[in-house]
Subunit: 156 residues, 2 copies
């Protein structure tokens, strides 16, 4: 077990590093912007996330360095007798820190966070192109019981 | 096309009917409560949803009767250059009004709502036991590109 890891809520100063982490992912190469200074849409999105009490943009640190991130969203729901769901998005571990169980530590922390917030259902969707990801989440007791369906809207 | 349909934000007075709609679903029989008066967790969840500006609990009416519902959640995100995602949950059409394209009308309205709110990605997960649902969403241009993974937490 990796005992040097801690997590905290992301701060605006973390944003360049968080975008770097998003970019360290094969599927994200064409999705993100590498411009310096950062595209202002990242800054706007950060402030929206940061000011929403249902959002926790998690930053994982090891020895003062950001090594992982994920985004947790709490969603009140009528279903399951008024349950709270938690959506996990944008799970990333820094390239040079992979293979150290940082991802599973981070998801374990997300599960703890969910329990502390009265969540009944944790959910996420994993791109079918990420062949190892399904197995990774199954080892953490997630079940691939659903089809994850997406519709991308074009700017008009 | 069904021209008698309208949609609006759910009100507290709709809650008993909305729980009825949740119950008119084979997978929900063991999930929901049929108690009268309503389990107070439904009321608490309703108020959380109702007071959250990122939530739209949609009620579809035809001739003054509630015939459908779904829940839309806007989620700011860093990914895709600071995009906004929209999650669709708890899609239900009243049993006696099925086969009238109310579901597809409702999802079309959800897509319009998403466009009005600057959403780039609409997402939902569909239980693999609902064999027709995947095809229903594919006809509406959704792609089953992801595994929808769930972890149910036990009360401890």
């Amino acid at each position: 077990m990796n005992t040097t890891l801690t997590h905290r809520k992301a701060r605006i100063a973390d944003l360049p590093r968080l975008v770097e982490l998003l970019l360290e992912d094969e599927l994200s190469q064409t999705r993100e912007s590498k411009l310096t200074p950062l595209d202002e849409n990242y800054v706007k999105a950060f402030h929206k996330i940061n000011s929403d009490s249902n959002q926790y943009l998690m930053v994982v640190e090891s020895k003062g360095e950001i090594v992982g991130t994920c985004q947790l969203t709490l969603m009140a729901s009528l279903t399951f007798i008024g349950s709270t769901r938690m959506q996990i998005e944008a799970v990333r571990v820094a390239e040079k820190h992979r293979g150290q169980q940082i991802g599973s530590w981070m998801i374990d922390q997300a599960i703890l966070y969910a329990k502390e917030h009265g969540v009944s259902i944790i959910q996420l969707s994993s791109n079918k192109k990420r062949h190892q990801a399904k197995h990774f989440y199954e080892k953490l007791d997630f079940e691939a019981s659903h089809e994850g369906m997406k519709l991308y809207l074009r700017k008009e």
